[in-house]
């Protein structure tokens, strides 16, 4: 086993509007406060060696963010969770951790899909259901995607894999969905909004899981225990 600890953490409403860089900085500072035996990079400005799964957009919540920390010594994952949680600011919580085997693939190599929970005010379940039904019969859905290099058209229809039960609640609608994440079949939340016809800025969106999609199998980057 290596001295790399992989952990899953929550990004709650208190820290919902942090950017990915803000999160990374916060994690680093918490590492220092906790006095974790972090491995530092070589060079003039040593930085703790840590990596994360795909960046979560500003404004989204998550139950399943992932990080890999390289340590200089063996640390019991349970102990890690306990110590680190004591030093993380409100809104962050480490849910579980495991030591990685030697030469384990990076987080990003083990993730290409995510599950999302979307909560929408002022929308009826039927509207979403109808839209999803319609969408399932459509083979292509092209959106204009703005990137740093300009804009281009992308067909995102098949980046949305599936939509689960659409539940009407007193305040609106809640549903889960599975979509592509990462460098290839990435679905942005504003594009999910376009696909299912809702205003994404009014929605509360939570990343519930990140996976490697193998056929119809979704494998999380941390082993499930029981």
């Amino acid at each position: 086993m290596s001295n790399v600890i992989r952990f899953q953490f929550r990004k709650g409403p208190e820290v919902q509007f942090l950017s990915h860089l803000d999160v990374v900085r916060t994690m680093e500072r918490a590492v220092r406060r906790a006095g974790l035996p972090m491995a530092y990079s070589e060079g003039f400005t040593p930085r703790p060696i840590m990596s994360y799964s795909y960046a979560l957009s500003v404004g989204l919540l998550s139950e399943a963010e992932y990080g890999d920390f390289a340590l200089t010594e063996e640390l019991d994952p349970e102990e890690f969770v306990k110590i680190y949680n004591q030093h993380l600011p409100k809104g962050f919580e480490v849910l579980r951790a495991q030591r990685l085997p030697d030469h384990a693939p990076t987080l990003q190599a083990q993730i290409n899909a995510a599950s999302w929970r979307v909560s929408l005010p002022k929308v009826s379940a039927d509207a979403i259901k109808e839209r999803w039904q319609w969408l399932q019969e459509v083979d292509s859905f092209v959106v204009r995607r703005e990137t740093k290099k300009g804009s281009r058209d992308v067909d995102v229809r098949h980046f949305l894999f599936s939509v689960g039960a659409i539940v009407q609640s007193p305040t609106g609608v809640v549903f889960d969905c599975l979509a592509g994440l990462g460098n290839e079949a990435n679905l942005r939340m504003e594009e999910l909004g376009q696909l299912l016809c809702f205003a994404h800025l009014e929605a509360t969106i939570t990343r519930m899981g990140q996976f490697k999609k193998v056929g119809n199998l979704y494998v999380p980057p941390l082993e499930d225990r029981g």
């Binding site: 950017s19 916060t26 060079g43």
Partner: protein, 618 residues
């Protein structure tokens, strides 16, 4: 945070500016404390969070059982518009309470170009601008900070002003307000009690008298026993002062986002243009032992990756070398770096900088301020060409390839020769760098030229600022002569320096201009993209005020100045002597090492320079 802001957050830039829950933020129970203070910074969160003074006050107030302090920043324009659209007032970060629920709202006056933001924040909070228009309800609006030494342009908006260092007087203010509230004192009774404290100025008790030419002639007190002069507060035992054990750690990137150790207060170099060098006297150094403890506590409570040592001139701190070396050795293993923002221009400084910046040798900054020795003597910047050569060569030798030099134009007695001097220095730096040139390294020089702004309480407080046309032509003069692939030339806009000059030496007639400017949409004037000089011109016109009379006019030595009742302890005879010596080009030595220059601070405030002796170093 105010919950009503939540739906707006996805719609604004950097929403995390407006949320709270930062590490070490203090959320105290409102029902358990007697006095509630809002520390209001007249700029956005990203700027205000770097302000050490507010960190000190925040810790000090929240350290008391009977008081609480919360933070308030100016929302950026996008958020302001949404708040106005939805009828949401300005609130404090921690509890989301509107400012009207506090007992005290304290603004810091860091510079003149933030004055409009104060009015804008009062507007957003639903608080009447002028103190005389506000009713009996608290809060009291107070202000402090360097620009409080001429608070006159904003005096009509403030209930009281605090001059000088806040650590002691803040406690006294809290006590007075607490007792006053318990006794049910009226606002005026409360102000009477507050004005008994040293360093407190209640503007509405004074009325300015203007002459037939419309110029300021005198300040007449409106109540019996009003002090004719307010003396600044100064802390005598700097080592025994409390220092924050925690800083609030922001999530978004802010300025000065690091552990700050305050190594020293005051500077006695006596640069004649420098207001900070006059108003923060005397010099007091903090003992290395005390500093190291304070820094260690902050490192532990924040997890910051950088420590900076803060003061007006860190290279002057007697034990700077040992202190920096100790800190580097102590913290390098945990990836924490040390930085030193204000280094002296000598080869010792280079040695230190070399130790600090083992890594990125990107740029090193020096401030000769003027292009010739003659002019440097005038402004009392005691740096010679030889010093500069020394330091630049050792910097290049030590591995730096980019030297940044700060200058000012429009200084008193400046001639074309002095401007040529700037050009020559720029080229000399490249010349000195030649022998260090290699395939990978090409020496470069950045020249940054600011327009001089005469400030109150300095030897140059009487002189006219040069006109914008002349300053612009000087900028062009330099621009034409600094065209070189290895020279980068930059200069702030003269309009900003002009406005700064107007308000720096302004009087209460400018209150109407400020109000008009804010009504026209002026705010964030120190942000180049938001600065609207056209609107300012309109505001001056509408208020019937000629800004030239403030910025562009040399005052007679005998002329009444609107700020003389606000004392930093500096003797006006000293300023006058310095002004005369300046015109003769005679420098004045630094009283830290040399004889006393009789500035008047020590006798009038019963203080003295306090320099750490070598035996105190471990």
């Amino acid at each position: 945070m105010d919950k009503r802001l939540v739906p707006l957050l996805p719609l604004v830039t950097k929403p995390a500016r407006y949320t709270n829950h930062e590490l070490n933020a203090q959320h105290k129970n409102w029902s358990e404390v007697a006095v509630k203070v809002a520390l209001a910074f007249p700029d956005i969160y990203d700027v205000g969070m770097g302000h050490l003074g507010f960190k000190i006050l925040y810790a000090l107030i929240n350290g008391r059982h009977d008081a609480l302090a919360e933070r308030v920043y100016a929302p950026w324009v996008d958020m302001q518009e949404l708040m106005e659209e939805h009828g949401i007032p300005l609130t404090a970060l921690e509890s989301g309470s509107t400012l009207t629920k506090f007992d005290l709202v304290g603004f810091t006056l860091q510079h003149e170009l933030s004055f409009t933001n104060i009015l804008k924040m009062l507007d957003l909070a639903g608080i009447r601008r002028r103190s005389t228009e506000r009713d009996e309800m608290l809060p009291l609006i107070m202000a402090g900070g360097p620009a409080a030494f001429n608070a006159e342009p904003v005096a009509d908006f403030l209930d009281f002003v605090v001059l000088g260092e806040g650590e002691e007087v803040m406690h006294e203010i809290l006590d007075v307000v607490k007792d006053g509230k318990a006794q049910g004192l009226t606002k005026d009774q409360l102000l009477t009690e507050l004005s008994r404290l040293e360093g407190i100025y209640v503007p509405k008790w004074y009325k300015p008298i203007y002459g037939v030419d419309g110029r300021f002639e005198a300040l007449e007190s409106q109540v019996p026993n009003a002090a004719t002069q307010i003396q600044k507060r100064v802390v005598r035992d700097f080592n025994r002062l409390p220092y924050p054990e925690e800083f609030v750690v922001p999530y978004v990137e802010v300025v000065h986002d690091r552990v700050m150790g305050e190594i020293m207060r005051g500077c006695t170099r006596g640069c004649r243009f420098c207001q900070a060098g006059m108003i923060y006297r005397p010099v007091r150094e903090r003992e290395p032992r005390v500093l190291k403890e304070q820094i260690a506590r902050l490192v532990e409570s924040t997890g910051y990756e950088e420590i900076s040592l803060s003061s007006l001139s860190s290279g002057d701190y007697g034990q700077i070398g040992p202190l920096v070396r100790d800190l580097i050795v102590h913290y390098q293993d945990c990836g924490i770096s040390v930085s030193l923002p204000s280094l002296r221009l000598d080869s010792f400084g280079i040695e230190l900088a070399q130790e600090i910046q083992k890594a990125r040798k990107t740029g090193l900054t020096f401030a000769p301020e003027a292009g010739t020795q003659r002019l440097r003597n005038v402004i009392n910047k005691n740096v010679s060409d030889d010093d500069l050569k020394d330091v630049v060569q050792s910097a290049f030798a030590a591995g730096w390839s980019r030297i940044k030099l700060y200058f000012m134009i429009g200084l008193p007695t400046e001639t074309e020769e002095d401007l040529e001097g700037i050009v020559e220095l720029a080229h000399k730096v490249l010349e000195w760098g030649k022998e260090f040139r290699s395939a990978r390294r090409r020496p470069e020089v950045s020249i940054s030229v600011a327009s001089f702004v005469p400030k109150p309480h300095t030897p140059f407080q009487w002189m006219a600022q040069e006109s914008m046309e002349i300053l612009r032509s000087k900028q062009r003069f330099l621009q034409d002569r600094l065209r070189h692939p290895a020279i980068h030339f930059s200069y702030p806009r003269v309009e900003e320096s002009f406005l700064e000059a107007v308000f720096a030496r302004g009087d209460r007639r400018l209150a109407a201009v400020l109000e008009r400017a804010v009504d026209l949409g002026c705010q964030f004037d120190s942000w180049t993209d938001s600065f609207r000089f056209d609107l300012w011109e309109q505001a001056f016109g509408d208020a019937g005020i000629d800004p030239q009379d403030y910025a562009g006019r040399t005052r007679d030595i005998g002329e009444a100045l609107p700020w003389t009742h606000l004392s930093a302890g500096i003797d006006y005879d000293f300023l006058q002597r310095e002004w005369e010596l300046a015109q003769k080009g005679v420098p004045t030595p630094d009283c830290r090492w040399d004889e006393c220059s009789r500035c008047g601070v020590c006798p009038s405030l019963r203080v003295a320079n306090a320099i750490v002796k070598e035996k105190n170093v471990e």
